[in-house]
């Protein structure tokens, strides 16, 4: 069943997802129940057993529903087949088009849950030189081959601690991108501590997106994101974020995220989402911490019911706003699913692109599949100064897709998460190709909420259209 159809009930609405076509259907309870009793291929003639299995419903309605199901089956948007494996089978390594540039392996906060060992990734505190930043640009231009759009995220540690390198890298890329037929898109992920007017100007001019870290309510944020002397950072960063975002919004831009992490310490994280929204931000992402189970702040399996409750609560708040106003009150990153035009099926086979079209580069120029693999020797792929990337590792990631990852081919959510985070698989399950099961559970819940919200938005659009007709 999970291979072709997923059924779920979200706040009383019966929703059926045709996994392989991406078709989403809102159905009544009878269809919902009937679909649970069917397996493809669907015959034109209704199996008589359905009359007894659905004995509580009038026979005429049972036949009517079956006819509708059969009609959608014939249209290939219900019980459709998975015929994408052929695209995965020919997967080869791709040009590198995206880079996570670790300009700083140092940080000015001491976040309790930091996966980067408070910024240095366990490899010593370092700042990338401008020369290495420029070398990274040359490397990316060369390795991107025919790709035009190139992405580079300034990451750390805290990237604003390497501000001279950030500027030198951007300025150099801008000076050479045209001659190479490239279009650089820069982003930055920052904790905000070093933001000032000049940096805000520069970021708003040059960065096509920025991710601003804030965990929510003051007490939550300051508990998990202290400064080295143990003080909170909330009061330092929030005014700076407001300034940065207001300048973007004044230009009609929505290309930023205020991003928080929730942990076992704030399993009521919807309060943090709402708090961030109350500050005037409307592009939000609040995400579960990634941490081993023995850490006191780690999300563990017994937290899942509470987390699902919170995701439902957030859905209800957003859905209510859509019903009343036709619009979402804010964007929540994990509920953003475009039911009509998302990425193509080929992209959906292979998730994040790490180690293949996306790499991370350290202050010394070492190359890793992504930021989460940094510092793990067995995954080092080379150094930008040598200009050679480990083809074996790249090929391994090219062939890491939903048909080679454990359990994905039978999971209904496979075209929404594309196999999930490869690094999490390695770190928490000991194998890149084994998805991290706690993340899977949360992902599936979020995808359901995202689809259901898409249904609500669609209904609101229809209501508006009929009122205007």
């Amino acid at each position: 069943m999970t291979n072709t159809i997923h059924r779920f009930i979200q706040s009383g609405e019966y929703i059926v997802v045709d996994v392989n076509s991406g078709g989403v259907h809102v159905v009544d309870k009878l269809v919902y129940d009937m679909i649970g009793l069917l397996e493809p291929p669907i015959a034109e003639e209704m199996p008589e057993r359905l009359l007894s299995e659905l004995a509580g419903y009038p026979a005429e309605e049972v036949r009517e529903c079956y006819a509708e199901i059969y009609s959608l089956y014939k249209d290939k948007i219900l019980f459709s087949e998975d015929d994408y494996r052929k695209y995965a089978d020919i997967a080869v390594k791709a040009p590198i088009k995206a880079m996570c540039l670790h300009v700083s392996h140092d940080c000015n906060l001491r976040c309790k849950y930091c996966f980067a060992s408070t910024g240095d990734f366990g490899t010593g505190r370092k700042i990338m030189t401008p020369e290495t930043g420029r070398k990274a640009i040359d490397f990316l231009i060369e390795k991107s081959m025919g790709r035009q759009n190139l992405e580079l995220d300034f990451f750390g540690g805290e990237p604003l601690m390497a501000w001279e390198t950030v500027k030198a890298t951007v300025d150099y890329a801008r000076s050479v991108e045209k001659q190479h037929g490239k279009n650089f898109r820069f982003t930055v992920t920052t904790n905000g501590m070093l933001l000032d007017d000049d940096k805000i100007d520069y970021i708003n001019r040059e960065m096509s997106n920025c991710v601003l870290s804030l965990d929510g309510r003051r007490e939550v944020n300051d508990n998990t994101r202290p400064t080295p002397n143990g003080k909170g950072c909330y009061d330092i960063i929030v005014p700076k974020y407001k300034k940065l975002v207001s300048e973007r919004v004044n230009e009609g831009r929505t290309d930023y995220y205020v991003r928080g992490t929730f942990t076992k310490y704030n399993l009521d994280f919807v309060e943090d989402v709402l708090h961030i929204a109350s500050l005037g931000f409307d592009q939000l992402s609040v995400e579960p911490v990634s941490a081993p189970a023995d850490k006191p702040y780690a999300i563990t399996e017994d937290d899942l019911p509470k987390i699902f409750e919170q995701y439902d609560k957030l859905y209800d708040i957003m859905a209510e706003s859509v019903e009343k106003t036709g619009k979402k009150p804010f964007n929540f990153f994990h509920y953003m699913i475009d039911l009509n035009q998302g990425p193509c099926a080929v992209k959906r086979l292979r998730g994040c692109g790490c180690g293949n079209e996306y790499v991370a580069v350290t202050p010394d120029g070492d190359i890793y599949p992504c930021h989460q693999f940094v510092g793990i020797d067995e995954w080092k792929m080379g150094n930008i100064y040598d200009g050679v990337v480990d083809a074996k590792i790249a090929d391994y990631f090219a062939k890491t897709h939903i048909y080679s990852k454990k359990g994905c081919a039978d999971c209904w959510a496979r075209f929404y998460c594309s196999g999930g985070c490869n690094a999490n698989g390695f770190i928490y399950e000991g194998d890149v190709r084994t998805p991290y099961k706690i993340q899977c559970a949360m992902m599936k819940k979020r995808v359901e909420c995202g689809i259901a919200l898409g249904v609500k938005l669609n209904e609101a659009k229809e209501r508006e259209a009929s009122q205007n007709a």
Binding site: G23, E64, F333, Q341, M442
Partner: protein
């Protein structure tokens, strides 16, 4: 239809044949950096 309302007309299968052009954003370069959701990315070939 009386019992089923189909919400989206787009069919993922139709995107496969012309897919994989590589113009789009790399998924991990979005807000998350750990909990990637691919379906919220945009197709840039259709822009």
């Amino acid at each position: 239809m009386k019992h089923i309302k189909t919400i989206n007309k787009a069919n993922l299968k139709e995107t496969a044949a012309k897919g994989g052009c590589g113009k789009c954003q790399t998924s991990c370069q979005s807000a998350c950096k750990t909990s990637c959701t691919i379906a919220n990315q945009q197709c840039e070939a259709n822009k």
